[in-house]
Symmetry: T
Subunit: 144 residues, 12 copies
């Protein structure tokens, strides 16, 4: 078990409200609860969770894990569409990074169709609710 | 007096310089001094003041008061025009939120004519100097 | 009472239907009824009301009161977004003029996010229903 | 015959010149002559005709008949492409309204491809010369 | 009866699903059933019906009937907005062609407001449900 | 003198304020005074003057003189940039029409760089103050 | 085993060349070979494979399986960015559909950043090579 | 003669009408007749001709000859401006491909100035009537 | 006569062909012949004529006369729409400069509607054929 | 030989560096050497060569040969994308003119996809290296 | 030495990775090491260094030193292109501020060609690697 | 001293007016005087100065020195924003080239924010008055 891959999940702004806001859309489960279930379902990984509403703290965290971890799932929330700086951070690090979205961004406002981080990631998964995170982890599993 | 409505005023980047910068435009009064006067003039409200230059801390504050307060006045400064994330935060909370601007943004550069938070607020007041905040409070008064 | 400030309220196209159309949105009260209440609530003002669906008549009215009145509230309706000529009229006169909207224009179609009159007004108030007019009058009160 | 449907035809700017201007394109028949023929050919309708070059008068007429008539055919001429206010008027009334054009607007200048009233109408008929009006009346016939 | 005008109706992609998909919008009647009724209601025409989901087959059909038929009604569905080639085909043939739409395209997504075939047709009828086809046939009737 | 050319000068919105508004820019002379001088200086013309703030009245006037007069000078003010309908009116009439502007529209806001009437006129003169009208009359003189 | 979910994989233009073209990017394995492996790895599904370079045949296939199958994975290739019609087809059917891409479209030309089918799908997976298809199937597995 | 280079000419939509439509522009000669002449004039090539109105069939043909032939001349007609998929097909194959146009596309509508296939071809020849094909063949001759 | 105002006329690219090219539009008179007539008709001026097809030589000439002459008429031809540098030159000099065009640029291609020199001139005259130059000289006359 | 067609080749900016700059792309042969070979290979033409880095000198040369020569090949280099004036020059002359490019402009930066001269030429040939010039000459040969 | 000018260097997001990331581009030297060298090479300045990945902390620092320091060099990294707020901060302070970039932003993606802070700085230096900072300091030296 | 680096300074249009025009902005010193001072201050360089208002002469000069000199400072003035050809020239030569501007182009009109030469230079320095040239020379010094 000690050779488990280290995977960091990074959630951006407002994702700390999961389970609290707009429950009809996002359900009543908090991300923390969901994360605990992920740890059980993916025992082959050492999973870490980080959330911040501050763009620069997300960059800090990418720097911190980006040279030693085996993979990153990032749901940058609203920063997806406005942050050149987070895109640059992903481009600077070594860990393969996947862009994650809970909702189908292409079915929402036009300004959410643009991703400033997408080109720096290896791929993107969006629209499957919190299942999007599972599929991201599946990718790291299937690569082994 | 204990049933007073709780109202949060949130000021974004550079508004901490009020009274210091460009005094010919903004006057020599700091926002803190003005805020003290507001508390006197609107005794029917419990008024709170928060200022940060950090986008994410503004989001944090919106989350903190957004489910318990009776109203929010937000002058997001330069983030008004660039922050999808603050817009999402306002959309996520329950407290009715009003977009405030000291200057008439429509008389300034074109990039200030776009508001990424406007559609998530109930309304907007701009151009009346610091009086804009008073008019915002008037709204909460008149609703009673 | 004879030194009361003279304030002109100008409503543009389709605002004569208030209380008749889309009652679930705009309520069943006509603007005339509301105006009568305003006169009672703001005894410090001589209030005048003018409505026209004709762009040029609105300009005529702005010319007529714009050099003698103490303030103007204008809700130019659909002309807000298309009339360079009304903007020029406001720019030509002396009376401080406030742009008023009943609905939150930023939460509607993109072509309503553009105001051709905004930069010529001292400020704008939008989204508070007919309360928007009250807040505009509050401004003239608070300036005294 | 007394239960005939009431249908209003509204023509916008420059359509009063029909039969006078550009006769090779529009023919030598005035709209009034054509309208008399329509009344003969559609005895099942009480037909009314209104023309104005003034945007606001067209709005006035829409308000006047829009709550009592059974249908409206509107050829807003040049205002089709520039009038948010006429679009709002159509949106405010109850009578089903059809957008009519004599020429094929899509075969003309790009600025004529945009209609600011189209989305508020039930449908549009363009390009069939004055026959476009007949087809519009056919619709109200066929609906019975 | 033998001198009846030959009219071709061409339906493009997804219109074969009429009566099956989104029944609340489009009703439960298939186009085939509706077409049979049209043949009864317009005995003065020899009516032909062609449907294909394949852009090039629509072009083939336009070529086939475009030099011998008396008129064409084309509802190119989604190809309306993307097919330069169908527009070129209509431009190449002799038969007068009318653009038909069941829904009001101007009340839908912006990309549906653009027609690449409109300028090559004599006119357009949109928004009247399947009645749009009847109005198109009315045009060919009234021309006689 | 009885064979003098008939020339109509048409002024659009806000030009009735000449001599009243922004006197440092436009001077203190009203257009009426200037017009009297023009009549003296150009005795070879029968000069007529019309001003309206109403778009449709300008169209009405164009129709009224457009088939009998020898020339028209039109300063459509703010409608220059927004009125397809006035452009269509000029296109419909026979009298040669010249677009006039007092200020240099190309040195002002970008939305004033667009003229919707220019292509329907024979030429344009802008930026010479009220001299622009004189130069327009010079053209009709020099053509003789 | 007889209650296995039916899943259709649809590949659009040029994907038949997998294993033949640009082998350094896409590898030397044909999609058929990969599909056989998928059938082995996902025994809980009845998997079907369809490929066509013809836009309309893809629409036909969506219609054919869209009302009876349990899910669809569609990699529309170049049609992703140009086909309103395929988007409409997905919108018309009942089967949940996932947009799949082998390459990271956001790291390629700007015209590949636009998807005309995305908003009609439940979600999108791109950039993981042929693993993208596996993750799509994982979604249908995890939903059970 | 057996070592003659194999060259495929591919014509897209509406080019089958050459000699039939718009004869004043395109002449009365069909492409088949012209092709026979080309075979006589270029005996050093084995020339093949393919025409289809179906985008996907053009892709199929490119795949079929693209790995064995010595050169391709493609006149994709209207698909030139709308088909990402044909562009991808050309990019996928080995045979050097030349974009051909009969008319000067730059002297036509703006949407014809954009080529989605041009960057995948080695070069383009447009505007020389059917001579454009001859010049394309000249290129393959001169390369020897 | 010795105190006559010095006026420079500067013509840009292709205007040397006047009288040679497109005679039906521009007439058969060369600019030199016309210039001689101007000298006769405006004896109150010392008129100078300069033509060059070279952008920088036009700038040189502007520099040469721009500090000593009383006025400049410039018809920059095609450089009107592309030359920031000529605009800068006009902005740098003292002599009042008028933009002249023979044709009505607003009735031509969209790229001719943009002037990069207009805002640096005092005014513009376009569309009156070579009369445009006369009107420009009239301006300098009337100013005296 | 005395009736040989006169053909002018005009090369624009930086083409004098052929054989010197970027030799891996453009080869080590100068245009002069290549031109000598062209003269040998096309004895049926009197070939002339002109190169200038100065936009206006290119216009001068077009004027000089444009009324007497039988054809012109122009590679305007960077001026292709910025020169309205060269386009106007080609439009003014009689000699049929062909736009030539050595590289495939559609495979380069977007600003090279726009040609301001293309619509004034009879056709364009791009992407075949210096062979592009040969193909242009072939056109003049084949026309005989 | 005690009257040395105080100069603040501010580095934005990801610049803390200098010497770690993309070493082939940025070299292996950390900014801290380089800064030490700068202090040696510019003894006439008191140099201070601040780096943060957090937009608001950069604003805080600008406020802190902006009223007392003699100059600021700011490399805002990715925030250069997205931060209205940092631009506002620079505009609010007194210290002359220079925009610095290590790479040539104009040779990178189009979104890096836009600077939201440039107009508030006195000048910009980009593309010289870490030498860009030296040149910025040279400016403050040469001003003395 | 004989091994001094050769550096060419190239100034574009209107820069010959330095010291003459807009003295309040640019000062009363001519560039020639400033250049003499530069030669004194940078004895380690052989400095050459070239100015032309003609785009093509600037290209000629770039060609002339671009293969033998050690560096070039170019202030292309208005051509910076419009000349693809100068950009191509810089791209063709070997000497490292620096883009120089006296004023802060980002604080001026939007069309000055675009540089067509920037991506071909190694870096850019703008906004420091004539000091910008000194900083450019500093770069060549510091590289030694």
């Amino acid at each position: 078990m000690e050779n488990r891959k280290k995977i960091q999940i990074i959630n951006g702004p407002n994702l700390n409200l999961l389970g609290i806001r707009e429950k009809d859309i996002y359900g009543t489960e908090s991300f923390e609860t969901f994360f605990t279930q992920l740890q059980i379902d993916f025992p082959e990984f050492e999973l870490y969770y980080f959330q911040s509403n501050i763009e620069g703290e997300i960059i800090d965290q990418l720097h911190k894990v980006g040279f030693g971890f085996d993979g990153i799932l990032i749901n940058a929330g609203g920063y997806t569409h406005t942050s050149v700086a987070i895109g640059d951070a992903i481009s600077s690090i070594n860990a393969p990074t996947i862009e994650i979205h809970i909702s189908n961004v292409f079915a929402r406002e036009p300004y959410r169709h643009v991703s400033l981080i997408g080109k720096h990631c290896i791929g993107a998964i969006s629209g499957f609710g919190v299942q999007s995170y599972r599929l991201g982890l599946d990718y790291f599993t299937s690569k082994q």
